[in-house]
Each structure stands twice: as C-alpha cells, then as structure tokens.
Symmetry: C2
Subunit: 208 residues, 2 copies
DNA sequence: CTCGAATCTGACGCCGCGTCACGATCAGAG
DNA sequence: CTCTGATCGTGACGCGGCGTCAGATTCGAG
C-alpha cells in the first residue's frame, strides 16, 4: 500500500501536463507583455526553459496556443453560465444573470491577465472561434429558445437573437473595460435593458 | 485647346496615383484568394508588375494595405449613412435607413470582393480601427444623440448606445451573409426591431 | 538491467520581411 | 534641347522567426 493508488499516474504524463500548463501560462504572460502580434514562439518557450522542439510537441503554432487560451477562458466561463441558467426564473432573470456573470468574469480576467500592456499598443484584435466558444454560443441560443418556448418571451429567430445578445454583451463589455472605474453593474443594466426591450420589439416568428 | 486644362497634372503624380490604386486592387484580389493571413507583400506586388521596393514607397506593410482597404470601405459607406440621416424623419426612420443601407452595402461588397475563398478557410477576423471608421462611429453616435435631444427617443448613454447599435448591426449583418439566400430585408427588420425596442427598455440618463 | 518507445534538444534550412545602393525617369532652369 | 537635382523604381541582401529532424536523453515495462 506504499505506492500510488492515486491518479497522477506515470511521471511521463505528469511532466506532459506540467509542460502544457507551463506553456499556456508563459503564453499568457508573453501575450500580455509584448502583445499578440509581436510575441514569438521562442519568446514563449524561453520562459518555460524548454526547447523549441518541445513546444511543437504540444502546439502547432502560436495561433494554436492562443486558441487554447481562448478555449480555456470559455471553458471556465461555461459553469457560470450554466449556474445562471439554473437559478433563473424566467427570461429577464436569465438574461440578467448571464450578463452580470459575464461582465464580472470579464472584469476579473482583465485584471490579472492583460495587467500591463505597453502604453499605446495597437491590438489588432484577432477574433477566434474555438470549439468551447461554439458550445457557449449553442448553450445561449438553446437557453433562449427554451425560455421562449415556455412562453416567457415572444418567439423570434433564435439564431439572430443569440447573435445579437452576444454582440451587445461583448461590445458593451469591452467598452466597459475602458472606463474608469469599471462598473459592471451599470454596463449590465444597459445591456439587459437593451436586450429585454429589444426582444419586445422584434418581429415574431409565429402568430402569438 | 488640344491639350490639358484638365487636372491630371504631372506624369509623376499620375503614375503615383495609378500605382496606389494598382496595389490596392491587387491586395483586394490576393486577400480574397489566399486569405489575409497567408497572403504576402510579394504576392500582392507581383500582380502589379512593380518591384518590392516600390511597394514600400506606398505602404509600410501588409497590415497598412489592409487598413487602407478598410478605410476605403468606410469612406465609401459614409455618404450613404449621411443620406440616411438627411432623409430621415425621426428616430426609427433614421435607424431603419442606416441599417438597410449598411446591409445592402455589405451584401454588395460581399459579392464582388470575397467572391471566392478557399473552401474551409479559417479567417481569423482581424479587427481594425481606421480613422475613417472612427469617423463613422462618431457620426452615428452624434446622430443618435441629436435625435435623442430632439425628444424623438428617450435619453440614454450615447456611447453605449452607439456601441450596441453598431455591434448588433455588424454581427447580424455578418450572420446574414452566411444565409442563403441573402435577405437584407429580413435582417434589417430584425436589427431595427431589436434596437428600437432596446432603446425603449434602456435605463434613462435624466428624468423624462 | 535491458531495450524500445516516448520525449527533449538545438542546429539547420527555408521563407518572408524591410532596406539600401544604384539606376532610371521626370520636371524645371538656362 | 541640355543639364541637373530630385523623385521614384529595382532587386540583391541581411535579418529574424519558423518548423523540422537526427541524435541524445529519459522513462517504464518486462
């Protein structure tokens, strides 16, 4: 009974997982400090003490690391979204919970992630679409559709609706981060108001 | 009366203008065919018959060409937006005109610009902010503020409002382009409905 | 301990970038 | 028309980042 009945398994897989994480963490730092564009694969692996070749055992490119980072963000956000859904009572409640959760999440990430950027940086905002992000999208769309089915909101094109809600949330969220102080509540009030009112004004799918 | 009282001026400036345009046109094609990421400065310049050095007399990088292209788009859209503003009668009229104009513009660009892309391309959507685009943003925000001042709509945070309107328009517009057939009318109905209703549900800035 | 497989290492060749010395072309002065 | 300075075009060059691969190292099963 001396040795493992644990799960950390072999030493091999341990270092593998450790390296993955090390690369991801290093990438976060480097992207934060140098900006995505000017960061290089070698900048990243230098911080891990690994070699160039090792990097390519884990990721195929800088882009893929970035996607992994984004995917990770979405994965961490998902349970918050689910919690909002489960504790919601009706349409407005869901929207408010989800958006407040998202804005808090955003503000939080904002602090200990791009803590410091070189002053007047151009950040040519490269948009990505990861599997986990697609899952988040689907979850939102389905939740909205579900709530509409239950008659808590008028029935409208769920695809366009999800797109619009996410668009508003994302852009308002981003704008929010540029204001001082960062007030997630005010931003959430705005976004929720916009969406709730918006739904009321939308073209219906079927006769009500 | 045989020769110029025109404006083409010197031969020097003529070729200069011609080269600028040639590079821009070539860039449009190349970005459309190879995608932005994998396109190179040399791919672009090859189509113009110019030399590498010549390219750098006009633009500093591939990125700058892309910005010039985006700027050009915004510049061509601006008069349409202005027309929408001038022919509008009240808030909803303005919003509808502007959005319909934008969606038609989008659909039009979509046809003869990214006519053909390599099948399953990743397009890492590089977001850009050009001066002309900033001007469009300001114009929209000011128009909205103006209309609110006149009492045609409740007064709300104009910055957030402009961001939200643009976000909805852009994302719905993009989604619209992925549907077949492309129906700018349906999309516009949705976006306008969303915004008009949304404004009604927004937190007011002052007591009304 | 032995050996095969998994993993790491870093030098290498490739490719795109932006530059720069040189040559060609133009516009104005004489 | 010629001369001359200035402007613009040319392409070879050096730089730097990328992704690879043969060899070295480490792990773990037998």
């Amino acid at each position: 009974m001396s040795q493992v009945a644990y799960l950390p398994v072999g030493k091999r897989e341990q270092t593998k997982a450790a390296n993955r994480r090390a690369i991801l963490d290093a990438a976060r730092e480097v992207f934060g400090e140098l900006g995505y564009e000017s960061a290089t694969v070698r900048d990243i692996i230098r911080r891990t003490g690994l070699s160039v070749g090792a990097f390519y055992n884990y990721y195929r490119s800088k882009e893929e690391v970035f996607e992994a980072l984004a995917d990770d963000g979405a994965r961490r956000f998902r349970p918050l979204l689910r919690a909002a859904y489960e504790s919601a009572e009706g349409f407005e409640s869901y929207v408010r919970g989800a958006i407040q959760a998202y804005f808090d999440f955003l503000a939080d990430e904002h602090e200990n992630w791009q803590a410091r950027r070189p002053a007047g940086e151009r950040l040519p905002h490269t948009h990505v679409q990861t599997p986990e992000m697609a899952a988040v999208f689907d979850e939102i769309r389905d939740a909205l559709a579900e709530v509409m089915e239950r008659g808590d909101a008028p029935r409208v094109d769920p695809d366009y609706l999800a797109v619009a809600c996410i668009a508003v949330s994302r852009e308002i969220g981003e704008r929010m981060l540029q204001r001082r102080p960062i007030d997630t509540r005010v931003a959430a009030d705005f976004a929720v108001g916009m969406i709730m009112g918006g739904v009321a004004g939308l073209p219906r799918l079927y006769a009500d």
